[in-house]
Symmetry: C2
Subunit: 311 residues, 2 copies
C-alpha cells in the first residue's frame, strides 16, 4: 500500500496513492479511518486492516485525481536522521569500492526542514549554492531501542523518498554540516510511504535523480552500503527511534557529466527522485516572495563555485 497524507478542508487525512497509466489517483481514507493518520495505519494492525478493506472496496468513481489533491508530508518525524556516503559502485565519480565506509556517517535534519511532496523549496537569500540529493527514506513504525539486527526490520513501517537539500556554501564553512542542511523546507519527503510488504527487500531497484528532466544520478540499491535494517539497529544502540522518525539513507554521487555541468539551483528548477516501486518525488525550487521590509543577512557573499561531490 502507498500511503499518503492529503489536505481536506484544512485537515490532514490518510489516503492511498493508486498508480494508473493515465494519471495517479488517491483514495481518501478519511471516511473509513476518522481521526487516523498514516502513522496509525503503519503502526496499528487493526487500522492497517481497515485501510486495506477500504482500498479493496473502492470503486473507480471513489478515487480522486492526484493532481486535484494537495499532498502533505506522509509523516511528521520528531527527527530525521540522514546518512552521508552510503553508496559504492562505479556509477558515481566519487564512488570507490575500496573506500567502503566502516560506519554510517550520520547527521540530523531538524523539524523545520520538513516539506511535503507538493511544497516548493524556497531558496534562502543567504545561501548561494543550494544543491539537491535523492534518497530512500526509512519510516519507523515501532519504537526502536537497542534492537538486534535480526529484529530491526520489524520496526520499519515503510519506505519513501527524500531530497536532502543542502546549502553547500554553508555546509563547507565548518566541520559540522548542520547549517547547510537545516534551512527551512530543505527536506521534501514523500509522496507515499510504501509499506514494507511492497518496499522490501530493496535489492535490485534503481534510484535516479533528475534535474529539469535530465538524469544526474543513477544507482542500484545493490550499491547501498548500510541497509535500512542495519541503520535502525545501529542508531538504536545509542538513541531511541520513535514511530514516525525517518532515516534518510543517503544519495549516490552525481554522474561525472552532471557533476561537471552542475550549477546551484535557481528559481524554477525542478528535481525528481525516482525509485523502482517507490514512486517519484518532484520538487520545485523558488525564490522567496518579495517582502519589501525584509532585511537579509550581513554575511559576506561567498565565492560561487559548483560542488558536485559533497554529500
Amino acid at each position: 500500500m502507498r500511503l499518503v497524507s492529503h489536505l481536506v478542508r484544512g485537515a490532514a487525512r490518510p489516503g492511498v496513492l493508486v498508480p494508473a497509466p493515465d494519471g495517479d489517483r488517491v483514495l481518501d481514507l478519511g471516511p473509513a479511518l476518522p481521526g487516523r493518520s498514516v502513522l496509525d495505519v503503519l503502526a496499528d494492525p487493526a487500522v492497517r486492516a481497515a485501510a486495506q478493506a477500504a482500498l479493496d472496496a473502492a470503486r473507480p468513481a471513489d478515487l480522486l485525481d492526484r493532481a486535484a489533491v494537495r499532498l502533505l508530508p506522509p509523516v511528521h518525524p520528531g527527527t530525521v536522521y540522514a546518512v552521508g556516503h552510503n553508496y559504492v559502485g562505479h556509477l558515481g565519480r566519487d564512488a570507490d569500492p575500496a573506500q567502503r565506509p566502516a560506519h554510517p556517517n550520520v547527521f540530523v535534519k531538524t523539524p523545520n526542514t520538513l516539506g511535503g511532496p507538493d511544497d516548493p523549496v524556497v531558496l534562502p537569500p543567504a545561501a548561494h549554492e543550494v544543491d539537491y540529493e535523492g534518497e530512500i527514506a526509512v519510516v519507523l513504525a515501532r519504537r526502536a531501542h537497542r534492537v538486534p539486527l535480526d529484529e530491526a526490520e520489524a520496526c520499519i513501517g515503510g519506505l519513501t523518498l527524500y531530497d536532502d537539500v543542502s546549502a553547500r556554501d554553508w555546509q563547507r564553512r565548518t566541520s559540522q554540516w548542520a547549517l547547510g542542511k537545516c534551512a527551512d523546507g530543505f527536506g521534501p519527503l514523500g509522496p507515499a510511504v510504501v509499506t514494507t510488504d511492497e518496499a522490501l527487500p530493496l535489492a535490485g531497484r534503481e534510484l535516479t535523480v533528475e534535474r529539469d528532466g535530465v538524469v544526474t544520478a543513477r544507482a542500484s540499491t545493490d550499491d547501498m552500503v548500510f541497509s535500512p535494517a542495519f541503520l535502525v539497529h545501529h542508531l538504536s544502540q545509542l538513541l531511541t527511534l520513535e514511530p514516525g522518525d525517518v532515516i534518510a539513507t543517503g544519495t549516490p554521487a552525481k554522474l561525472p557529466e552532471a557533476a561537471d555541468a552542475h550549477r546551484p539551483l535557481r528559481h524554477g528548477d525542478t528535481v525528481t527522485v525516482r525509485v523502482t516501486g517507490l514512486g517519484a518525488l518532484t520538487t520545485t525550487f523558488v525564490d522567496p516572495p518579495a517582502s519589501p521590509g525584509a532585511r537579509t543577512a550581513d554575511e559576506p557573499t561567498p565565492t560561487r563555485t559548483t560542488t558536485g561531490g559533497l554529500p
Copy 2:
C-alpha cells in the same frame, strides 16, 4: 526571575527558583498561572507580569524546599542547536586567540537527548568514552526568521545551563558528530531559565565545570567568540528558530591538568556546570538498570519531548 518547571501530581507546573544561603526554595506558580508553562512566562508579557506579582506577594511559608521538588527541563525545545569551539583565551589548552573561528560550527542535539536537572544520564552500554561539557544555553522566547543582529537579543527569553554529553568513541568514528551527541538523555538542561533582565549582558561571568567536586574547566564569558544575539541572528538567516528552541553556546576546553587526568564517565560520577548569576546544573551518570533477558524494550527512557513536527 529564575524560572523552573516542576512536577506536581504528574503534571508540569511553572515555578520560580529562589536562591537562599540555607538552601534554595521554589515558588510554585501553578495556582497563579493555571495551565501555563515556563515558555508562556517567557513569551507573554501578561503572564510574565502575573508571575512577577505572585513572586512579589509570596511569603516565606509559601516556598518549597528545592530538595523536595522534582525539577523538569524548563522548556521542551523542538530543536537544540549546539556550537563547537566557541571560547578563546588562555585558560584552556586548546584555546588559541589566533585561531578564532570565522563561523559558528553548529550541530544538532535531537529531542531524545533532553534531560531535566534531576534526571541522571544513563551511560549506554554501546558507548565506552562518555564525556561531559559545560555550556550556557540560550532559550528563544520569540520566533526568529532572518533577524537582523540588532534585533536578535529581543528574541531571547533567557539563559540556562547545559551539559552537552558526548560519546567520544562514536563521535570520532565519522566526520559528523550526531551519533556521539544524540544518545538518549545526553542533554541535561536547567535548572532555571534566568530571564534576560538578569542574564544579559553576559560580560564578565565565570563558567566552571566540576567533576566530582574538582574544577576541570574554567572560563570567562568574555572569551566567548559568538554571542547569544549573534547566534540567533546567524542561524535565523537559514532556519526559523521557534519559541522554546535552545542554542547551546559551546564549552570551554578542559584545563590542561584535567585533560591529562581525564577518564570516561562512570557510574556514580557527577558533573556540575556553574555560571555566575545563572545557577548550577549537577548531573549524575549511572549505568542502565539491569534488564534480564530484555534486549529491546524494557528500560525507562528519558523524557521524550514534543515531537517538533511542522506547525
